[in-house]
């Protein structure tokens, strides 16, 4: 099995073998973060730009740790929307960076498709760190790794994504990735936040959170953003919690072991109650740890392999 892609733009385009390869590669990378010296030289001399057009703390820090633990040189560029509206286009900015001889771009952008747009126009490897509502592939991968760690498999599991599905790149990457790995995916949330057309992708649409908890093995709880309330997607955070919040009472009523994931940052008391967020069902901090390992695996796989050049291929063969 070879990983010959130049970019990681989304999980929709990956095969199950490619996803499995990334997850399998992430496993040994976890150990590196446990060492006293948390660094291996594999990306020494590579320059990586973290190009963030949207504020992000978690994803950027996670990528930065992953890059530094592989010995890459990293530059963080945080572009406020104001400097974009000054007139410099996305492609101009990327070409400028590339003129400074970089190897990879990790991009977060508010517009769906921005990483794909960039990948068609520059020579560096492009990694999507979240684009609009489209995809957040490394989040999908770390969610899958966390689930696989717990169940030893993904095939045959039932996973539900709960909350603001329509605006969620995490939801889309989870749907593609989990389905390719043989899991059954469902979604649940206010109908204003769940696109009915997901049925066409074979996604089950649950109307009641109780049905979700009595059926599935894993619930991935999405963050509810306050501005959705202001645009009348639902009347209040309180009512959201009443209808869709994950509470201990609901979990106990279901009477089953359900693994709880959350991509963070959490709104305690809205989509997830504090006793669940801190309780025995959740693996939220494991997700964070796995995030670094998965991103290391992605960086490693994109940096090596076929597209890097074929000279001196055999010098270590036979050892």
């Amino acid at each position: 099995m070879q990983f010959n892609r130049k970019h990681l733009l989304g999980l929709e385009e990956l095969s199950s073998d490619e996803i499995r390869m990334i997850l399998d590669t992430a496993v040994p990378f976890k150990e590196i973060s446990e060492r006293q010296i948390k660094k291996v030289p594999v990306l020494r001399g590579k320059t990586i730009v973290n190009l963030f057009f949207e504020p992000s703390t978690r994803t950027r820090i996670s990528f930065e740790f992953a890059e530094k633990r592989l010995s890459a040189d990293t530059v963080n560029v945080n572009v406020s929307t104001s400097s974009v509206s000054k007139g410099e286009t996305l492609v101009d900015m990327a070409r400028n960076l590339e003129a400074m001889k970089i190897d990879m771009v990790v991009i977060r952008h508010a517009a769906s498709g921005a990483p794909a747009f960039l990948a068609q126009r520059i020579d560096s490897n492009v990694i999507n760190a979240g684009d609009g509502w489209h995809e957040h592939p490394t989040q999908g991968l770390l969610d899958m790794l966390t689930i696989r760690d717990h169940f030893g498999k993904l095939d045959g599991l039932k996973v539900a994504i709960v909350g603001d599905v329509i605006h969620s790149r995490v939801a889309r990457s989870n749907i593609w990735g989990l389905q390719k790995m043989g899991a059954q995916v469902g979604v649940c949330g206010p109908p204003t936040l769940v696109p009915a057309s997901l049925k066409e992708l074979g996604v089950k649409i649950y109307s009641r959170i109780e049905d979700v908890l009595s059926e599935v093995d894993v619930v991935n709880v999405l963050r509810i953003q306050l501005e959705r309330m202001h645009s009348n997607m639902f009347p209040s955070l309180g009512e959201y919690n009443r209808l869709y919040g994950i509470s201990t009472a609901r979990l106990e009523a279901a009477g089953r072991d359900v693994l709880i994931l959350h991509p963070g940052p959490m709104n305690r008391g809205v989509e997830i109650d504090s006793d669940v967020a801190d309780g025995e069902h959740q693996v939220i901090l494991e997700q964070v740890t796995n995030g670094v390992a998965v991103r290391m695996a992605v960086l490693f796989l994109l940096a090596g392999g076929k597209q890097a050049g074929a000279a001196e291929a055999t010098e270590m063969r036979g050892e």
Partner: protein, 429 residues
């Protein structure tokens, strides 16, 4: 007086129920004779149309020429040259210019520029409301005097039913069509493509068919209420076609146009964020494509227009949500219509000529659309046997934004005659 003889072609002129091999003689800008084997001895110029089809000049009633204001995208001259190359002897120019075409001076300016360019005729369409703001009526009478032929706030839907009702009522003085870009801005919201699985898949905000349907229904009802002439621009949704069909059956004075992209492409053309498949209204689903074709066949949809909307290449070089709407169409329209609808068995050729010449001429009360003796000498000569590949790099338009680049098509204009003068001729390439 210069005399031009178009000889040896098959004349297709549905206005006069003609479809046979006939010569056409033009003199003094008018049709001076139609007949078999007209004597060439006394003419100044002979255009050999042997093996070709001769039709009344094609008219595109929905074109954005961008001048004044965005001469980097298109000028009246470059747009008219593209029109002539596409076989159009006349185009109607939309008023969303900078400044907006909402007064006599701007209408006059566009007409003068078109005369100076000397390719196709241009009939400006004026704004319904000043600066297309949807609030105060623009001076329709003055603009008509200067040469405007209809009114629209195109690009923006005139959302206020009350303002539109007054505009329609006022238009009764002149009996000209009020043209509406039918999309309810609130239902469109942030939508950048058709609602559906492709939008869901790509994480793009959807714009539902219903955003069009509610305005089509509302404005047809207002046309019934006021008795005004109402025209639906670039109809895209299946149920919008049904609504128009029902109101027509009721006798309401409603007409409609469709663009080639709305009856050829679906929202799947957006593929992976292709900004050349971004338009308003957006590309719809397969059932909508079928319904628009059916509407064109049964006459519910009167005209085919390109909605030629040039955008500078770096404007389309953007993330999908940030790219502007629209594509160029003047130089691809005829071939797409002929290939898809005539060769595809949807329309017979004479119905194509109706939809692309006779009907828009009547709708806008233009001279043209007919080649009887005494009619205006606007003629298009078409080669229906030529197979070619659309190449955006060969466009005369200043812009290249088309999703049809590389597409194999059949049929092409080989000569465009305006007022008895050959303004454009394809030299075999």
């Amino acid at each position: 007086m210069k005399r031009l003889l178009i000889r040896g072609g098959r004349l297709v002129d549905p206005a006069n129920t003609v479809d046979e091999k006939l010569d056409v003689l033009l003199s003094g800008g008018k049709v001076a004779g139609v007949g078999k084997a007209i004597d060439a001895a006394e003419v100044d110029e002979v255009l050999d149309a042997t093996g070709k089809v001769v039709v009344p000049g094609l008219i595109d009633m929905h074109v954005h020429l961008r001048e004044p204001g965005r001469e980097d995208e298109e000028t009246v001259e470059s747009g008219c040259r593209a029109a002539a190359a596409g076989g159009f002897t006349a185009v109607a120019a939309m008023p969303n210019t900078e400044p907006v075409t909402d007064d006599q001076a701007t209408v006059g300016y566009i007409i003068r520029e078109a005369i100076r360019a000397g390719y196709s005729r241009v009939y400006p369409i004026g704004a319904i409301t000043r600066e297309i703001k949807g609030e105060n009526l623009a001076e329709m009478g003055s603009m008509l005097d200067a040469g405007a032929v209809a009114f629209t706030d195109d690009g923006h839907c005139l959302a206020s039913a009350e303002v539109l009702r007054k505009a329609m009522t006022y238009s009764l003085i002149f009996d000209v069509p009020i043209i509406q870009h039918c999309e309810d801005p609130e239902l469109v919201g942030d939508g950048v493509m058709n609602s559906g699985i492709t939008a869901t898949r790509l994480g793009l905000a959807g714009n539902p068919c219903e955003a069009e349907e509610v305005i089509v229904y509302r404005d047809c009802a207002l046309a019934r209420l006021t008795g005004a002439r109402f025209h639906v621009a670039h109809i895209s949704a299946a149920r919008s076609v049904d609504i128009v069909r029902n109101f027509k059956a009721e006798g309401v004075r409603v007409t409609a146009e469709a663009t080639p992209h709305h009856f050829i492409l679906t929202d799947e053309a957006v593929g992976d964020f292709d900004t050349n498949a971004k338009m308003a209204p957006p590309l719809r689903g397969a059932a909508d494509v079928v319904a628009v074709r059916k509407g064109l066949a049964d006459g519910t949809i009167d005209c085919i227009a390109s909605d030629h909307a040039p955008h500078h290449y770096d404007e389309k070089e953007a993330a999908f949500a940030n790219a502007p709407n629209g594509i160029v169409g003047l130089e691809t329209s005829f071939a797409l219509v002929y290939t898809e609808l005539v060769l595809g068995g949807v329309l017979d050729f004479s119905t194509l000529v109706r939809r692309m010449s006779t009907a828009p001429a009547r709708l806008l009360k233009l001279p043209g659309g007919s080649l009887a003796v005494g009619d205006q000498g606007d003629v298009t000569v078409l080669d229906l046997d030529i197979n070619w590949t659309i190449d955006k790099h060969k466009f005369y338009s200043k812009c290249r934004n088309t999703p049809f680049h590389g597409r194999q098509v059949t049929g092409r204009a080989v000569a465009t005659v305006v007022g008895g003068r050959v303004v454009w001729r394809r030299d075999g390439d």
